[in-house]
Each structure stands twice: as structure tokens, then as C-alpha cells.
Subunit: 467 residues, 2 copies
């Protein structure tokens, strides 16, 4: 009898053990540290071109960019409420709020009357810290969609006003397009509202975690109060990756954080059809993602990183009629300047030179330095057709003519087209396109970002991993 | 004592119940019915253009194509062993065998000496039935990669020979490019080897499941022994979807089947930069996928459908310089003929007309019928620039000049470019491009097709769901 009792007891214990060992409570891993990276204008072709370029420069073995190795991959449609081809404001609003709106709105509904709550605001309410970083001006459409509410993206002053009154913990990157109007200086207002304003390298380097809010405006900005293009950055320039790294250290706390990092100038270079500068811009953006990945590796159970784009720009095609089945992305390495900065070079040069036959010969020598163009000994031997198209652009127009996004003169534009043509790339557009854009995800809930998504799904899915 | 015993017994029984209710053996759901759909040349932009067109024609509400609603989405790189921009043979080999090879090889290794086992052959060995379907000639690179082994895709006769000797259960779609040489007629050889040859509509319609192998060659083929472009198919034409449906019924058996269905002419239309015909070709391909989805719904636990492409063709961009932020895909609906068939119209017309000013005016009337071009009352009012470019193409070249893939005269080509331009599309290339292509999956193991893949992963992942 005793033995039976013991046997029953052992069986019972064993059964409980079996049960407890196989029982798993429903798992809902929550993300405490959340990154949303937005490559403005970065379609699938831009990503593949950048890694094709990087692989070619590294000797030819094909190596995907860091975020291209994330386990989660999706594709999102990007259309706006009132246009098939979206803009950065409407797309930014979708990515920030999960709601479709009209072109130009900054986290306001289609009517422009009702503000929409953003992911950053929700995260803040929940007790997380929030960081907003962009390589373009911090009042630009994409970053603005996370902290401002305005019916029109061009209300830069009012957006700056919203920034100054916000409780975002860390702003970093570009500056303001329209900070002072009448008696309102948004910078001063920000300081009054508790922001520590940092505008020099030493203070940036010295910044350590503290309770106060930070507004870091890069000390070396270019047109439009934005950071320099990656290709133009001098040695030691504070990069998007460094700002991201600094923000991570600053925001790291036990209640977690939400951070949006925008590579905003990929879009500008695609508007300008400047392939050589664009691939470097994507790689620079990818390095910022790598900074988050470093953090992820320390907190793999509590971190989510999502990388996506607001839309594609330029209709980039990875092949062209001249090159047929060939590609030579390494040729892009001969370009050492953005078209925009090259334009400044041209404007200087123009002061002592003329738009004539002799001038054209001299300007080709200038392109040798910046693009590798030239005669038999040059990396890119300009052929008769190219010479003619360059000459036409040189002769017919003012070299410093301004464009919509980047100030590319016709000669500059033609030079970057020659680069793209030789590398095996092409563009169909100078504006945005409605092709679906990729989403890459790693960490908590990455699986939910796999599949056919719409841009409005992104913040909803992110919130599900947090809440 | 008795009560304790009862209590222990009840507890024990309950524990066992708890254990058995929570215990789940490792799940490895196997796919019995496996479909691999390959849209030749179908990049992401082609997919979005087609659904944008379909949505516009249906009244504007955005409706994704059927396969775009699959839960699994991935992106695959496509490069060949010896070239960044792949070709259909090397890419087909990767998709059929999981191994990278050189341009031109048909399921042979890079040396061209060692045959590589294909997914179709492995499935057959396992006792499954096998179907190979293509809208282009059945000896073309993509279908050939699943049943033939040749060092060069142009060995059409030898590929036909491999087909005739294969144990594939169902071939359907296009015919042979080089069936007869000296005393070998591959069609006769196929019949000798047990294939029931079907070449008329009545026999096709009457075909019911049987044990013998079937070789269905469409009765209404065009150049290159391929089926007509979707846009050119007359009422009642046997479509790719109908062939797929017939093959499903024919191959359905208790040991399962593997089926490869290629939409082969998407690629041809992208080579020709014919956007109006291309969107219809993608929709036609999508309808073939829908036929598999119908079957999937009856066997959701045992079916896997994978849809992908071998590469992108044409560098399609969904925006252009003329249209900027606008799209008008519905305009493509005014095109009622492929460029290739329009070329035949031109050749006829040319017999009674001349390449002069009067002829140009008359030819514009012809384009009214087929493209909707014309003056004030036409759907597409041709402007001065367009008129000039069309006239230049009309005057300078022979109207029936032949191209690589589709026989598009310069005037035809220019006409299709005007269509694309007005719709808001553009092309950068007339060949393949190396941009990653999407993969869509539903059914057993669909999750494994999510993520960043290489084309060589596809057959491996498919095999894992089978074996």
C-alpha cells in the first residue's frame, strides 16, 4: 500500500513537472527601446545600388548593408489620402500616426483641422524618453510629423514653435529654416522651455546623460539648415551615426525610449538624380542604423529596430540602355563631391572664365578632379556624345541655376547623369514615385513587419510591440 | 486511505490530462501541393504598376493583386555567378536547383559540365507529379531550367530533346523553337516516350485526368512559338490561368504535385518598354496565380504557393519628369494592342502608304485606334514635342525594323514611350536589371519566404516544406 502511495506520488510529481516544463504562458515580448529609421526617398533600388557600390569598392564580394540582413522584411504602399504619389509630409504623418492624410499635412487629418496623436507623443505619455534626429533641418516634414501638428509643411516657423514647446528629450541634426519672426525666436523659446541648446562640437562631444531636454543643432550646416551631404563631409564631421549614438547614450533609461532617425538627404540627391552622392548618403544612413544595432546586441530581448522609407524618389533603375547587362558601380567612386557643392565650385570658377569653347576645355579639367572625367588617361574617358551633351549644358545655361531641392546647374546635372550612365544606373523622374518601399526589422516583434503592409501599419505595429 | 488513493489517482489523471492538452509534438507541416510561379522580368515596380492600373480601371479604389495579399513577403537578390545582372537561364537555374551558375547555363554548373538536380526532378523522385507551364516556348530558359541540362540556353533543339525524354507529367503553354533537326523531331520523340500531344482547343477542353504524360502546345502561337500577349488575345483564347487550372485538375493525386508556371512575356514587354501591354501581362499572370489560390482554399493545410521573378527588366520607374507627382494609369487602357502586333499593322499599312508628311498624318489616325492618340477629341492629345518625336521615328526608319525580343519599329517604340510618359511611368533600360525582386508566399511554410533572400534560397526553402 505504501509503495502504491509512493508510486502515485512520484507519478503525480512527475506529471506536474512535465506539465510545468511544457507549459508556456502566452508570450508577449515587449520592446522597451524602439528605433524607427526613415530613409527619405530610399526605395529598394537605392538600397541595392548602395550595397552594390559598397561591395564593388570592397573588392567585389557581394556584402549586404547591415539592415539588409535583418530577419524581418516587408513592403509598404505609400500613397497619400489625396494623391497616389505621396509627399514627405503625408507619408511622415502616416508613419508617425498610422493615419492617411493629404499632401502637405503635418500630423493633421485630411481637413487640416484635427491634430493626430503621434507615436512619439504616445511613447512620451507612457513614460519613455523620445529622440528625434534628422540630417536635414529639424523642422522638415519627416521629423516634424513626429512632434508638430500643422496643416502645411511649409509653416516652418510654426513647426519650430511646436518643437520649442514639445517635451521631446533629444533633438539632433539640422537646424531651423525659419526660426525668427517678429518677436518670436523659436530657439530662445526652446531654451526657455528647458532645452539645453548645443551648437558646437566640443559641447556635443562632452554631452553626458542628464535630465534636461537637448536640442543639438549641427555646427556645420549647409543650405536649408541641413547637414552636409555624406560625400561632402570633411574629416571629423559629426555624422548621423554619431548623433544617433549620442542620443542612445543620452536617452537610455529604465523606462525605455523611442527614437526616430531620418536620413533626409537621400531624397534630395534622388530629386537631383545624383547617383554618385546618393549611394554614399545611403551608406551613411546605414551606419546610423548600425549604431542602433550595436545597442540592440546589448539588449536583444527589449529592442526593436525598424528601417523603412517614406517613398521612393527618382524612379531609380539599376540598368540602362548604354550599359545593357553590365554594371560598374565602382566608377561612382570617382565622384568626390555632391552636385550641389560642385555647383558652388562652378560659380567660383565662372568669375574668371567664360562660357565658350576655351572655357569648356578648361571646365572638363575641373570635372577630372571631381568626377574622373577626361581623355585617354582618365578613369572615365568622355566620348563624343557625352562631350556634346556636356558642352550643350555648359554653353546654354547659367552655371549656377537653381533647382527645387539641390541647386544643380544644367552642367552639373549632366555631369551626374554621365556618372550614372557609366555606372549602369538610370532615373525616370525628378520627383517621388509610388512604388512600394521596403521595411526591415529586427528585435521584438520583427515578424509582424514581414508581409505586404501599408505605411499606416508601421506605427500601429510598433505600438503593439511597446504597449 | 482509500480517499487518498482516489485523490492521488484523480490528481494523476488530471495531471496527465493537463500534460497531454498542453503537449504539442514539434510541428512540421508538409506541403503536398506546391506551386512556383515565376513572372519573368517582374520586379516590384511592375507589380505595383499593374495593380495601380487595375485599380484605376476599376474606379480608383486601391486594390492589391491577389498574390500581393499573401502573408509571406521576401526580397531576393538575383545576381549570376559571373555577372551582377543575371539572365533568365542562370536565374532559372538558381530557382530550379538552389545553385548559382553562369549566364546561359540551363541547370548545369558554372563549368557547363556538371548537371544540377532540379526541384522538379527531386519532386518526381519522391513520387509527386510534376507540371511545367509557360506562356513562352516550353524550351525557353526558365521552363527549361526545371527539366533540361544544357550548357547553353540557345541549344533549343537539345532542350526539346531533354523534354521529350523527361518524365514530367504535364507540359503546357508555348511550343518549340527548334523541334526538327536532321532526323530528330522532338515532338515525335515525345510521343514515342509516352506524351499525349494536344494541340487543339477541343482536345484541351476535353482533357481529363489520366496516367499518361501530357504535352499541350497552345493552338494559337505567335513569333518564337509563344502564346499571344495578354493584350492581343482574342475572345476565348486559352489563357495561362486556364492551362494552370487544367494542369491542377490533371495532376491532382494523393502523392501531391509540384508545378512551375511562368509568365514569360512580362520580360519581353519590359525589354520593349511597352508599359500598356506589360500591365495587362502581369494581370494575366496574376490570374494564373488565382487559379492556384482556388485550389489552395480547398487544401489550405497541404498547399504552398510561391510567386516570384527571375529578375527585373527595363528599370521601370513609377514616375517621370513630365508627370512629376501625377499618375494616370487608366490612360494605358487606351492601348489595345502590343507593340509587336502594332508593328504587324504598320507593315500592312506600309504597303499602300509612304513615309512622308501625308503618311504621317494618316498614321496618326491609325494610332488613334490603337493608342487613343490624336487631336482635341482624342483621349491622348498629342502635343508638339510628342508629334515631333513620333514624326522623327516615323520618317527615319523602316517601320518593320526588328528588335531583340519584340519586333518593335522605332515608330512603335516611340508610341509606347508616349503611352508610358502620359501614364506617369518611365524606363531606364531595355535589358535586365539587378534590383532585388519580391517573393510572395502563402500556405505551408510561407513564413520562411519572408526576409532577405537570395534566389538560390527559394528551391531550398520549397524543398524543406516538402521533404
Amino acid at each position: 500500500m505504501k509503495s502504491f502511495r509512493s508510486f502515485a506520488f512520484i507519478l503525480f510529481t512527475f506529471s506536474i513537472f512535465l506539465f510545468s516544463s511544457c507549459y508556456q504562458p502566452p508570450q508577449e515580448p515587449k520592446a522597451k527601446y524602439v528605433f524607427l529609421f526613415i530613409g527619405d526617398g530610399m526605395g529598394l533600388a537605392q538600397v541595392i545600388a548602395a550595397e552594390g557600390y559598397q561591395s564593388a569598392m570592397m573588392g567585389g564580394e557581394y556584402v549586404p548593408l547591415g539592415f539588409r540582413q535583418f530577419p524581418g522584411v516587408g513592403l509598404t504602399t505609400t500613397y497619400a489620402a489625396n494623391r497616389f504619389i505621396t509627399g514627405s509630409a503625408a507619408a511622415g504623418t502616416s508613419l508617425a500616426t498610422g493615419i492617411k492624410t493629404n499632401i502637405g499635412r503635418i500630423s493633421m487629418d485630411t481637413s487640416g483641422m484635427v491634430p493626430l496623436e503621434t507615436l512619439a507623443e504616445k511613447a512620451k505619455k507612457k513614460g519613455m524618453k523620445v529622440g528625434i534626429i534628422s540630417s536635414v533641418s529639424i523642422d522638415h516634414a519627416t521629423p516634424a510629423a513626429f512632434y508638430a501638428h500643422r496643416p502645411d509643411r511649409n509653416m516652418y516657423h510654426e513647426i519650430g514653435f511646436d518643437l520649442a514647446r514639445s517635451d521631446v528629450d533629444f533633438f539632433g541634426g539640422g537646424g531651423f529654416k525659419d526660426p525668427v519672426r517678429e518677436d518670436v525666436n523659436v530657439l530662445e523659446l526652446a531654451k526657455e522651455n528647458g532645452f539645453q541648446y548645443i551648437n558646437d562640437e566640443a559641447s556635443f562631444r562632452a554631452l553626458t546623460p542628464a535630465e534636461n531636454k537637448v536640442l543639438f543643432v549641427h555646427p556645420d550646416l549647409t543650405s536649408g539648415a541641413s547637414m552636409r551631404f555624406a560625400i561632402d563631409q570633411p574629416e571629423g564631421y559629426i555624422t548621423l551615426a554619431e548623433i544617433t549614438e549620442k542620443a542612445i547614450a543620452y536617452l537610455d533609461n529604465e523606462n525605455g525610449f523611442f527614437m526616430m532617425v531620418e536620413g533626409g538627404k537621400i531624397d534630395w540627391l534622388c530629386h537631383a538624380n545624383d547617383a554618385g552622392a546618393m549611394v554614399r548618403e545611403v551608406i551613411d544612413f546605414s551606419a546610423a542604423v548600425d549604431a542602433a544595432v550595436k545597442f540592440y546586441k546589448l539588449h536583444p530581448e527589449e529592442t526593436l529596430i525598424v528601417v523603412t522609407a517614406d517613398h521612393e524618389t527618382g524612379g531609380l533603375g539599376l540598368g540602362n540602355i548604354r550599359m545593357k547587362y553590365k554594371s560598374d558601380y565602382a566608377l561612382l567612386g570617382n565622384q568626390s563631391i555632391s552636385g550641389e557643392d560642385f555647383n558652388a565650385v562652378l560659380s567660383e570658377w565662372r568669375k574668371d572664365n567664360h562660357l565658350n569653347e576655351k572655357g569648356f576645355k578648361k571646365i572638363l579639367q575641373v570635372t577630372h578632379e571631381y568626377f574622373g572625367f577626361g581623355g585617354d588617361d582618365a578613369p572615365i574617358v568622355i566620348d563624343d556624345n557625352e562631350s556634346e551633351s556636356l558642352k550643350k549644358a555648359f554653353m546654354a545655361y547659367d552655371l549656377s541655376q537653381e533647382g527645387d531641392y539641390a541647386n544643380y546647374s544644367p552642367f552639373t546635372y549632366q555631369s551626374t547623369l554621365v556618372m550614372a550612365d557609366r555606372a549602369g544606373l538610370g532615373w525616370t523622374s525628378q520627383t517621388h514615385t509610388p512604388v512600394a518601399v521596403p521595411v526591415y526589422a529586427i528585435g521584438n516583434g520583427f515578424e509582424s513587419f514581414s508581409g505586404n503592409l501599408d505605411n499606416t501599419d508601421i506605427p500601429k505595429l510598433i505600438w503593439e510591440t511597446i504597449e
